[in-house]
Every structure is written in C-alpha cells, then in structure tokens.
Symmetry: C2
Subunit: 344 residues, 2 copies
C-alpha cells in the first residue's frame, strides 16, 4: 500500500493526446458507423467491445416486447466505488481521510503517541501502521469515525473533502472520479435504471457527496456500517456512532448488503477487484439479461496499472472468472478516451 | 394478544352505512366548501383537523420559494406498517403466517410436539405459546422464516398471502389495508415524496407484496432482518436465511434503520403505537417543516378500538407525547369515511 510514483500528464500532452484521439475517433467513426458525437451517450469511451456490450445490453433490456426486456422497476445497477468509480491508488481515499483525522484528533489523545497503529501513523509510517492488514485499517476507521453524532460526521466528511487533495495529483478527491463511468451512470439512469453504490467503504463516508458527484442519492448507497445508538441529548434525539463494527460490505457481504437493502437482484454489476466477485456472481446468476463488467487498471501513464499482486484493489480470481464467463473487461488504456472529468 | 370478539359488518349494513356517509359527505361538502370529489386527493378522509393538517403540510413543503419549502429529493415519508397501513388485530399478520408455517412444517419436526412454544401452537393455544412475550414471537419467527434461500422465502410468502384469510373478517390480508392511508401514500408520491415502510415486521415478509398493495417498491421497505449467508449450491450462488436475529427495527431501532438505509432524516412520519415513538421524535427534531401523525384505533364497529392497555399495538406514551407536542392524531372513527378499500 506504499505510494507509487506517478507523473500526471501535462496540459500540453493531454491537449495533444486529445487531438490525436479526436482525429482517430473521427476516422473510426467513418469506418465503423459509430454514433455521431452529438448523440453518443458515452463520448469518453472508444468504440470497441466494451462500449458495444454496454449499449447492446441497454438496448436489449429496454426494448418493449423484446426477448430480453426488463421492466423499469427491476433495472437495478450496482457499482463498486473504490477503483470502479474513483481512483483507489496509492491508498483508499477513506484511509487518507482516517489518517488526516488521526492527526486532527491526536492532541485529544496523548496516549496515541505510544499506541499502535496510531504511533506509527503519527510518525508518517503508514506501512507499519497497516501491517495488520484490513483489521488494522478497520481499527483506525473505528477510532476516527465514531464518538460523534451522524450529523457531526456528515459535516466532518464534507469539510475534509472540500480541502483535501490527492497525494499524487494534488487534485480534490472528487475530481479523481472516472469520466467514462459518470457517463455510464447517466446513460443507465436515462434508461430508467436505478443506480446504486455498493462499496466496502463506509456508507456514511460516501453519502455526503455521492449525489453531487455521481448523481446517486444517499439512500442508494450501500456500504460498511458501524453501530448507531439512539439517545436524547438536551431533549433532542441524536444518533451516536459507536466504535463497533456492524457490517462489512465486501466480498460475500456485497450480495448480502444488496439483498438487505433492496430485496432485488441487480441486472448489472460493475467492479474492479476480487472484492466484487460475489456481487458479480450474484448478479450473473439471475434469469434473463445481465451485464457484468470489470474495470481493469491498465493505464500506467494516465492512471495506474495493477491487478493480480496489488495490495490495494487486487484483481486476480475475478479476472479469471470474468474471462471464463465472458464478462466484459474494460481496459482503461484501450477503452477510455479520458480518465478524469478535468481532461474533457 | 388473545383474539377479541369482533362482528364484521354485513354487506347490507356496509352498503347502508356507505350511503349514509355519502349523503352526509355531500352535506358536509356544501357546508364546509370541501374540495370537489373530482379533485379531492383524499376522498376517504372527512374534512377535519387531520386532513387539513396533511394538506397544509404538503402545500407548505411543495410551495417553491415558500418558507417551508423542501426540495423533492429530501421529501422522505416513513410509514409504520402494522396498525398504520393494515390491521394488526387480533394478531400481527406475520404471526398468523408463522403459525401457519409451524403447522405446514410440523410433519418435518416431530420434536415440536413436545417442545415449546411449538407444542402449544400446534394445539391451537397461541396464548400459552406467546407467554414469553416478544422473545417467544421472535423464536417462532426464526424457526419458520429461516433455513430457506431468499428466493424460496419470497415464494412462500407470496403463496401464503394468495390463500390466507383474516381470522375475523375472512378477507385476504391484502384487503385489510386502510383506504385513507393508500390515498395518503399516493397523494404524497404525487407531490414527489419518496414513501417508505419502516416496520418492526420482517423486511423480507413485506417486500413480496408492498409494491402491489402500497405502491412501495421493495427497496423502500425497512424492517427487521435475520442474518443471510452467501453460498454456492450446485455452482449457483444463493443467499441462505440463517435462524439468527440481525436487527430489530422497532422503537429506537426505527430511526437507526432509517439512517442506515437512507442517510436522510424523514420530514413526515406515520405510526400508531409506542413502537413508533422514537421514529416520530427523530422526524420531529429535524429543522424545517415536519408532519408527525398517529393513527388512533377508535372504531370498535368498523375496525377495533384499543390504545393504552392493548397487548398488540399499545399506544400510551406516544399518545401523551403527541398531545403535548401537537402532533396530528387521527381518530379512525371520526376522520375516516371508509376503512378498507372493499368498502369504497
């Protein structure tokens, strides 16, 4: 989980590259009868197998009387967040938030100076602090996400996101989202899909901003949760966040979280790592038309390239299963014209 | 929780009574300048304080530029189910389902003949079986609601509802819903409210039918849950229902369930018992326009009359708080022209 070097493209190189792409896209357009730019709902996607699979699926499920038709109410699409809708390198954004919270709260916790994993974190040694794996991560999350009311936490997240910058690109995290996926979300909603985030990250960490950034309202965010306690403070009821895990919405937890939250099986699922495999399997196993898609991080120049051996967002077993079952595998390098909205 | 005697009105008396009401309603209409029947969105409600409070609230939150305006995305309305949207006497419908399931499953469980609470249930002695209170109820629910997949349970509930009849009225349970509340749900949705069921009953017991009966899709049903387990059966993933309580969506559990599910505080809440008090308090404590409403069961002729001492749907502390805080208290006898849709 150590940061890796990354050189963001310069404005000049992006402009030049975009021009090349535009010319190439025009050429491809003539050759392949691609949709005109004016009507193309997915302009950040190159014409190719991935885009064709998406468009064909949407046409099939929305064709009244067609064999693959799915009523609008059943058009549920689920999206992993980290690595699928926004960047997850060099570390999960929620971890960056937790590290900043440890620093902010440290003056109130003198004992952290000699208590792991906080001691290492405060020395800037993230690697040692997280040597315990996901359990260590979860402990840090507990210490920094609990002890406040639901309203206070909402405010803390919003304030952090308004000022925090990605450690490599120095951009706001909310600009580290993937333009092609924003288009895909809007395209599905334009065809009466209900789009959900289904993330291993905390539901209450995502809800303050998903509507503004993804167009996904808080009630369509499914994520990991900690326990809440209802109590009266000065005659006013509050929900207090307890430092106790309640539900981990990852791996087999994802289909469980979806079922608990919606009571419906999705017809489309989008992920990027082994943590999404069970969600994809659950989606695929339903009757009728299905779309299962993996985002494969293959672009070391514009984003990051990683898969089978990455400590963040490992994609190994799910990649094998996607190939065996002919799920759609998006190569960021070859399928996406732009990565981030700011490159548009 | 023992059944109480109840004489359902005969067809003749209902017809005569309905005629009286229609005549009376016409008269009232002339006297009080009530909305014309053609445009009245709540025709099963008498003109009176309750109806006026509802209409005034909806007008206030939907008036653009008005002081009480609430954006459509934040118009969340939560409804208790048992006793608020459908009848809960002489016993909760889900308990009737569980009793029928015990009978259906008894041949597979010879040990139940000598094991409480099943032995008493199989002898028809519901009172003894439930002497342990809610805990006993929950044990019966566990034994009859688990051990199957989510899909199988969905089918079992649908099949039961298609044939089961209310023990007193002999009507299908899905006809034991309250016409005025169906109108209220539709009225709120017509003003861009998102309507939720928030019930102490099982989420997966309600989801198979809430869309058809209430117009509330399964993803807007919040209820009690048991644990699920993801597993592969013959190469196909299933979610198995485990006989283990996960979450009790009652009392203080209601605001917690709402927060976990939606991340939003409702602006309107509807209940009928002390189990809804915390949900009403949580709703009332938000800033801006709020509507908190209790259905008071006051009609011993057309439905049931019960409140402070009832073992099912006790309304005591919440009634005091409603009066102290000027929440809307609906008297079924005086506020509702019709109770059930079949009386229309």
């Amino acid at each position: 989980m150590s940061p890796r070097p990354h050189a963001p493209p310069s404005v000049a190189s992006v402009a030049g590259w975009t021009l090349t792409i535009l010319l190439f896209a025009s050429f491809v357009g003539v050759q392949r009868s691609a949709p005109s730019p004016a009507t193309d709902p997915l302009p950040a996607w190159y014409e190719g197998d991935s885009k064709r699979a998406i468009v064909a699926f949407v046409q099939k499920v929305t064709q009244p009387g067609g064999e693959g038709f799915v009523p609008a109410a059943e058009r549920i699409a689920v999206f992993d967040n980290d690595g699928t809708l926004w960047a997850e390198q060099p570390m999960y954004t929620q971890l960056a938030f937790a590290l900043d919270r440890v620093k902010a709260l440290a003056p109130l916790h003198p004992e952290w100076k000699s208590q792991e994993p906080f001691a290492s974190l405060l020395k800037g040694d993230v690697k040692t602090a997280l040597a315990g794996g996901e359990r260590g991560l979860f402990e840090i999350v507990m210490a920094t996400h609990a002890g406040v009311t639901s309203e206070e936490f909402d405010r803390i997240v919003k304030e952090w996101l308004a000022s925090a910058k990605h450690p490599v690109t120095k951009r706001p995290y909310t600009e580290m989202v993937y333009q092609p996926m924003l288009e895909l979300l809007a395209y599905l909603r334009a065809h009466d899909f209900k789009t959900y985030v289904v993330s291993g990250g905390g539901a209450d960490f995502m809800r303050p901003w998903t509507e503004a950034v993804y167009g996904i309202p808080p009630e369509q965010v499914i994520g990991s949760t900690i326990k809440l306690k209802f109590e009266q403070r000065d005659g006013r009821p509050v929900l207090v966040r307890l430092p106790e895990a309640e539900f981990v919405d990852d791996k087999a937890g994802k289909p469980i979280g979806i079922q608990r939250h919606t009571g419906r099986r999705p017809i489309a699922a989008f992920g990027n790592s082994d943590g999404d495999l069970e969600m994809l399997q659950w989606t695929a196993a339903g009757a009728g038309s299905r779309l299962c898609l993996l985002v494969h991080h293959t672009d070391a120049t514009r984003e990051w390239a990683y898969d089978r051996t990455s400590s963040v967002g490992r994609l190994d077993q799910a990649l094998d299963e996607a190939k065996a079952r002919a799920w759609t595998v998006v190569s960021m390098r070859e399928d996406w014209k732009t990565i981030y909205p700011t490159e548009k």
